[in-house]
């Protein structure tokens, strides 16, 4: 089942092999290809590149073509202020004060940036046949607000007929856009109408129901699926939104997913949402994102549900965060890992792992969910088990299952984030992927060689002889003979007794000082608790 099939089935509440996942990549696409939001949203080429990059990085089931709720408004004469990191903002309202819609320009495919967005849709469709393409259109109420400005709220009260006429006009614009997106190959037409969250159900029914229902009927009659996107505090409207007849309702973090689930199921329509954008996807860690995504899936259930953020991803959302959500969705076992880790306390004690890498043996640790029940963990353990005898007594290996508290403690002490992971002498070496036998042998051998080198170099030391030249003359001669007899390569350094006093704390001369190099680490910055152990050895 490819992503497109999965989305289509989920929209129809048919069984799917897993929950489909749609990251709403809008200006985040610009970030992925190193461009600014303003140039991105004004170039079909850049949008196509952004969509392709997002599909490659995130392997989503569906992808919006363009997330810009100012597109139609601009084509109808609203002035825009462009931003490098956000979609543009509407800064003028051609119908302000209640002017007639008759003054608005003709709306066609050549208006504003519409042709380039449609071109991007067509090219993205051709380039990614296995991904469901979403054509996003500005909902009738939000478009009306762009055209009229915030006078709309007072005019709903004072001149309801005018507002109804305006909404009928903007619904017509939505139908045009839907037709064009469908022609370009989009599978889903999402009517994005966040401003409806500002009104209550009575006024929704009075003003919004008819125009929006007509848009959804139109989309259905033209063979595409529809979604009603709304963000903000719109809980009061979910029921009336369902009554407008979309195939899907998609919401953000302001509305409890369980609430939407129950209402949508009652109406037999699918639903989507509601990953938190700011605190989790933008500011959280990959682990936070996975945990939150799992909560959403657990709440929503796997039928008739599409996992998605509540809105357009912030431009600089960390790529690793979005990837981690996809990984969780595609990988059942990753869900088990997240569940297992969720049961552990937040503040784990950390082990002192100062001894790692210090013993003669090489220690191989495998951090697993549980090798008996988790296939990737089992294969990783088997790989180590098979390789270890090649090194006879030199290699010792252990499995640490995170189903036990000890395992989790060990995991956090080694700063391991993914399961399964192989650590060699406390260093993360293989993450998630089962290494081929030769690669594992090579990695262990490399570590053995490093230790050998360290030990050889440790043998190098020097003799410091402290005293006056007269005092030292005979001692130096005898020391040279002794070194020669042992066949050692050790240098002799002489210093005056005065220097020796301050450097080595000797009280009488002549004095003999053995200096031995103990290399504790190379090319890494050891942790403070490790340093502490090394320092103790000198006390």
């Amino acid at each position: 089942m490819d992503g497109r099939e999965r989305i289509l089935k989920a929209f129809n509440s048919e069984p799917v092999d897993r929950v489909p996942w749609v990251p709403f990549v809008g200006v985040h696409g610009a970030f992925l290809i190193g461009k600014n939001a303003d140039e991105y949203l004004q170039s079909a080429d850049l949008m196509v590149r952004g969509i392709e990059s997002a599909i490659e990085a995130y392997q989503p089931d569906g992808m919006p073509v363009c997330f810009d709720l100012q597109l139609e408004a601009e084509a109808l004469g609203c002035k825009l202020a462009w931003s490098k990191e956000n979609p543009p903002a509407v800064i003028s309202h051609p119908l302000a004060g209640g002017k007639s819609v008759g003054i608005l320009p003709v709306f066609d495919k050549e208006s504003g940036r519409i042709s380039l967005v449609l071109e991007a849709a067509w090219r993205a469709r051709q380039g990614s046949p296995g991904t469901a393409m979403y054509g996003l259109i500005t909902g009738p109420f939000t478009l009306a607000l762009h055209l009229l400005g915030t006078d709309i709220f007072m005019m709903m009260f004072e001149n309801p007929d005018y507002i109804k006429e305006l909404l009928s006009y903007t619904a017509g614009i939505s139908k045009n856009m839907a037709d064009w997106y469908i022609e370009a190959g989009c599978d889903v037409i999402a009517v994005v109408d966040p401003m409806t969250s500002q009104i209550g159900p009575d006024h929704f029914e009075q003003f919004i129901h008819n125009p929006v229902s007509s848009v959804f009927s139109h989309i259905r009659n033209h063979g595409a699926l529809s979604s009603f996107f709304v963000c903000g505090h719109a809980q009061q409207n979910i029921d009336v939104m369902c009554k407008t007849g979309p195939d899907n309702v998609s919401i953000d973090e302001n509305i409890p997913l369980a609430y939407v689930r129950d209402i949508c199921r009652r109406y037999g329509i699918s639903f989507g949402g509601n990953l938190q954008l700011t605190l989790v996807l933008l500011m959280g860690s990959p682990e936070d994102c996975q945990k939150h995504a799992l909560d959403c899936i657990d709440t929503a259930g796997e039928s008739g549900f599409i996992l998605a953020p509540g809105c357009d991803l912030p431009m600089k959302t960390p790529v690793e965060n979005i990837k981690s959500v996809g990984q969780l969705v595609r990988d059942n076992y990753q869900r088990d890992v997240v569940r297992a880790l969720d049961k552990t306390p937040d503040e784990m004690p950390r082990l002192n792992l100062g001894e790692y890498g210090q013993t003669d043996k090489v220690i191989v640790d495998i951090i697993t969910l549980d090798s008996e029940s988790c296939a990737p963990c089992q294969y990783m353990v088997e790989a180590v088990r098979e390789v270890a005898p090649h090194f006879e007594e030199l290699v010792e290996w252990r499995e640490h299952s995170i189903k036990n508290l000890d395992g989790v403690t060990f995991m956090s002490s080694l700063f391991v984030k993914n399961i399964p992971t192989i650590c060699i002498d406390g260093k993360i070496s293989f993450v998630s992927q089962i290494p081929p036998k030769q690669e594992l042998i090579k990695a262990i051998q490399k570590r053995i060689n490093e230790k050998m080198k360290l030990r050889i170099r440790e043998k190098h030391g020097k003799i410091v002889l402290a005293g006056s030249p007269e005092e030292l003359r005979e001692i130096i001669e005898k020391a040279r003979i002794a070194i020669l007899e042992l066949g050692a390569q050790i240098e002799i350094e002489t210093i005056t007794a005065e220097e020796a006093r301050s450097l080595y704390g000797i009280s009488q001369s002549p004095a003999w000082i053995n200096v031995r190099n103990r290399i504790k680490s190379e090319g890494t910055e050891p942790a403070v608790d490790v340093m502490r152990e090394w320092i103790k050895a000198l006390l």
């Binding site: 200006v27 939001a37 709720l69 100012q70 202020a81 931003s83 490098k84 990191e85 956000n86 979609p87 543009p88 903002a89 509407v90 800064i91 939000t142 400005g149 915030t150 709220f153 007072m154 709903m156 009260f157 966040p194 401003m195 969250s197 500002q198 009104i199 209550g200 006024h203 963000c231 903000g232 505090h233 809980q235 009061q236 953000d252 973090e253 302001n254 509305i255 409890p256 997913l257 369980a258 609430y259 509601n274 938190q276 954008l277 700011t278 605190l279 933008l282 500011m283 909560d295 959403c296 657990d298 709440t299 509540g310 809105c311 357009d312 912030p314 431009m315 600089k316 959302t317 937040d346």
Partner: protein
Amino acid sequence: MKIPLILVTGFLGSGKTSLLRQVLERLGPRKRIAIIQNEFAPGRVDSAELEASGIPFHLLEINNGSVFCACLLDDFIVRLAEFLKTYQPEAIFLEATGLADPVSLAQVMQAPEVSKYLFLGGVWTVIDSVNFNKYQQYVQRVRHQVQIADLILFNKSDLAAPDAAMTEQINLWNPTAEKFISRNGFFDNIEESISKSMGVHEIPDIAGLKESLPRPDIGSCVIRTQKVYTEKALIGFHDENKEIIYRLKGYVRSRDGQALLVHSVFGRLTIEKAAYWDGPTEIILMGPGIRPGLITKEFLKSGENA
């Protein structure tokens, strides 16, 4: 020391600019004040009017592409951090424009880059006493702004005194907020309210030296979650953390679909049914040593999936 951020909300034309002018007149001569507002939003605070007052302040505009979505603010975090370092304001007033979600804005302030500099000192909501009855029927955001406030001003009292129906409605939506009648943004308790939101009230009043005494470093946190809570879980969370929570306020969803109004000041917790809350669980915490990441984790652990 962290500086207070006061969120000023209110629907279009309610009198936010007049209020800020009153605040500037009182605070401006002795503190460095910053005002943050949305660059393109209609009905925003009129910076020209404030500048005309002659009282110095620093202005930072949120260049957000959308008047209705506060989620696209990642570039703003960087700009704000830079702004705080450059101007080192001693108090910030963030104007949440008429249609924006103020809680989303407050959440953005929890980004590590800026939360180390500031805490949420208070949420002030200005009500247009003349037009409230009309707007509140149409615009859901008006209710949300009232519900999350800890100070509510019935402004334009010279044009229309708040009637009984309006007062009753506001009290139903938010029984715990302090409420004052104001005219052109001025109200009798303005000095005390400013001090309170600046965190000055958190230290003992010794011979009127409040403002010169060191203030414990206050942190704040806004949590919005889909989790549901039992009263027992809330009491447990509160008791565990009451040493570090000076104030807690918000709405919490329970498993049976009801909403609870949770309110705590210096360890005195009250929980009651909230008849008019239809959003998710949403709480604001303030107190010494509050670290948003840790307290959020603890609060989420106390809840259950819906």
